[in-house]
């Protein structure tokens, strides 16, 4: 037993509890920002610990928790998303500004995401997914005075708990087939008993788990909740759902499929591939019709989940490597885009409408540049990080003999150019009316920091692609259970 290996978990648990306690006890006005400061300190400490732990796998709690390169790198994605969320919510009336429990809930969700990607057991994986889901249900409904926010929370809760129930059933069947809840145990059991692949009970388990994780990752046809929930939730929460939850769900996909059940990959490759195709096509077509930027980004996040699923469907470490790289790129692009939406929302009523963006690039050129970079990279134009990631994902599909995935992905990307570039054109075009650009607030430094860092990362990840990919390859190799 090596409990020191779980240090990141202790740190995150401690700051989460501290932030929640501080949200309940009365604080003097000078200490109003204390929960956020503690949360940011905890996230930075967690990131520092993961750097020192980078190396061979350590286990804690009898293998319930696996601290390896995969979990540590995924923790980076998640903690970056959580940090950005706290910064985006800084002083935001809908978030930390009025409701101090915001910080504690974001930290609880981040802890759950970290637990998910570091789990070595079905039970830990389940607790992680639930910790993140339950915290996010509350975060969505945070603006209790706004009916849309409540509606968003309830819709997310109901679809999310259907997903949870199916996940439990799938895990129960997987346990029934293999007789163990440990991911490593499942892998060895599938390896040793050759006849277990294509066992009907195992196939049922795989289908249920794919459906349940499809709900969490908002893959088509389990995506219906996504646009409503993303639009209704407070925008910093939407940004967090689009990045952190996506990363955790993809981490769970990789741990369960590329990792634990790789021996039965013949049973799930086609299934997840079909899910990826449906998600890419429906997500991109759905995004074409949107006039609300938040809703458009929701559909875009569905489409992006489709690209990411290619990395799972191929079932190889090359696919996992490309997926992890693309997750970093995706998080940078999405956070940059949401930061600009938040900026606009604070300035004008209904700032999340596309019309509110008209002429914004002229009024605030730096914001226009950040948004343009994010959109162009999301659409997959070279030479940005989004292009590199998609190129690797499609390449891994071709290498794995699933060229059809790459073809659908390329066609879907072409469709996506239309709606991503529409935002860019509107932003640099003439203002819709003179009223919309008149009101200019001082730019909140925390939001600007997220936007600029995201934009720098979009370029930086492409320039430093090789060292970054080496790290991702190390993480992907750690997935395969020795």
């Amino acid at each position: 037993m090596n409990a020191g290996a779980a240090l990141t978990l202790y740190v995150m648990a401690a700051v989460t509890v501290a932030a929640i306690v501080l949200a309940v006890v009365p604080l003097p006005a000078s200490a109003r920002r204390l929960p956020e400061a503690i949360g940011i300190a905890g996230i930075v400490a967690t990131l520092a610990i993961t750097v020192t732990q980078w190396g061979e796998r350590q286990v804690a709690f009898n293998g319930e928790l696996r601290i390896d390169r995969f979990g540590l790198l995924m923790t980076w994605v998640i903690m970056i998303a959580a940090l950005a969320t706290l910064l985006l919510g800084w002083g935001e009336p809908a978030a930390a500004g009025r409701r101090r429990e915001f910080t504690g809930l974001v930290l609880a969700a981040a802890t759950g995401m970290m637990l998910t990607v570091m789990s070595g057991d079905l039970i830990t994986l389940f607790i992680g997914i639930e910790l993140l889901s339950v915290s996010l249900y509350i975060l969505c409904a945070m603006e209790v005075a706004r009916e849309r926010s409540l509606e968003s929370g309830l819709k997310y809760l109901i679809t999310g708990s259907i997903g949870t129930a199916l996940l439990v059933y799938g895990f129960a069947l997987l346990y029934g087939v293999t007789g163990t809840t440990s991911l490593a145990g499942i892998a060895t059991r599938l390896d040793s008993v050759g006849g277990l692949a294509s066992d009907p009970l195992l196939i049922a388990a795989i289908v249920l788990i794919v459906v349940a994780l499809g709900f969490k990752a908002s893959a088509v046809p389990f995506h219906m909740w996504t646009p409503d929930v993303y639009q209704g939730a407070p925008t910093p929460v939407t940004a967090f759902m689009g990045t952190g939850t996506k990363a955790a769900a993809m981490g769970a996909f990789l741990l369960l499929f590329t990792g634990a059940t790789s021996q039965a990959s013949g049973d799930w490759r086609g299934l997840i591939g079909a899910l990826a195709v449906a998600t890419m096509v429906v997500g991109n077509v759905g995004a074409l019709l949107q006039d609300n930027v938040k809703r458009m980004l929701a559909w875009s996040s569905i489409a992006q989940a489709g690209y990411l699923l290619i990395g799972v469907a191929v079932g190889t470490t090359a696919g996992a490597e490309a997926l992890i790289y693309y997750l970093f790129a995706y998080v940078a692009m999405t956070l940059a885009a949401f930061a600009i939406v938040i900026l606009r929302e604070r300035e004008v009523e209904d700032g999340d409408q596309l019309t509110a963006m008209a002429g914004y690039g002229r009024a605030r050129p730096w914001a226009g540049v950040v948004m343009t970079l994010a959109m162009v990279s999301l659409a997959g134009f070279p030479p940005f990080a989004g292009f590199v990631g998609k190129f690797l994902l499609f390449g891994s599909a071709v290498d794995a003999g699933m060229t059809w995935l790459a073809i659908v992905g390329a066609v879907a990307s072409v469709i996506s150019v239309v709606y991503y570039l529409r935002v860019v054109i509107v932003m640099w075009g003439p203002p819709a009316d003179d009223r919309s650009t008149v009101r200019r607030l001082r730019v909140p430094p925390a939001v600007a920091a997220v936007a600029v860092t995201g934009a720098v990362a979009i370029v930086g990840l492409a320039i430093a692609a090789q060292p970054m990919l080496d790290v991702c390859a190390d993480a992907a190799r750690a997935l395969i259970i020795p």
Binding site: V134, E147, G153, L157, S161, I162, V168, G179
Partner: protein
């Protein structure tokens, strides 16, 4: 007495089917929560059945964890339903007009 694993699976499948039908047919959020609860307990029944089949305690641990999670979800669900109910019923004396004469 030894209950065969088939019995556990039949019961859990029946519960899962009931829950799924409820989720698809009901429109009342309380009924939806109840149906999800049925589905979760279907998972619990099969977890415990398999735990006895393999003579391994981790299935029972899993079932306990699921119960805790289910409780947490219901608490939040009910909280949201109450909040929505409150925001929809406005206090307005003009609307209190079912008795007139």
């Amino acid at each position: 007495m030894n209950v065969p694993i088939e019995a556990y699976l039949m019961l859990s499948l029946a519960l899962l089917a009931l829950g799924l039908v409820g989720v698809m047919r009901r429109r009342n959020p309380l009924m939806l929560l109840l149906s999800v609860e049925l589905m979760l307990n279907a998972g619990n029944v099969s977890l415990i059945g398999f735990s006895r089949l393999w003579d391994d305690p981790s299935g029972q641990v899993f079932a306990l964890v699921v119960m805790v999670v289910a409780a947490a979800e219901v608490v939040i669900g009910l909280g949201l339903v109450v909040a929505i109910f409150r925001s929809r019923t406005r206090l307005d004396v003009d609307e209190m007009s079912s008795m007139r004469g």
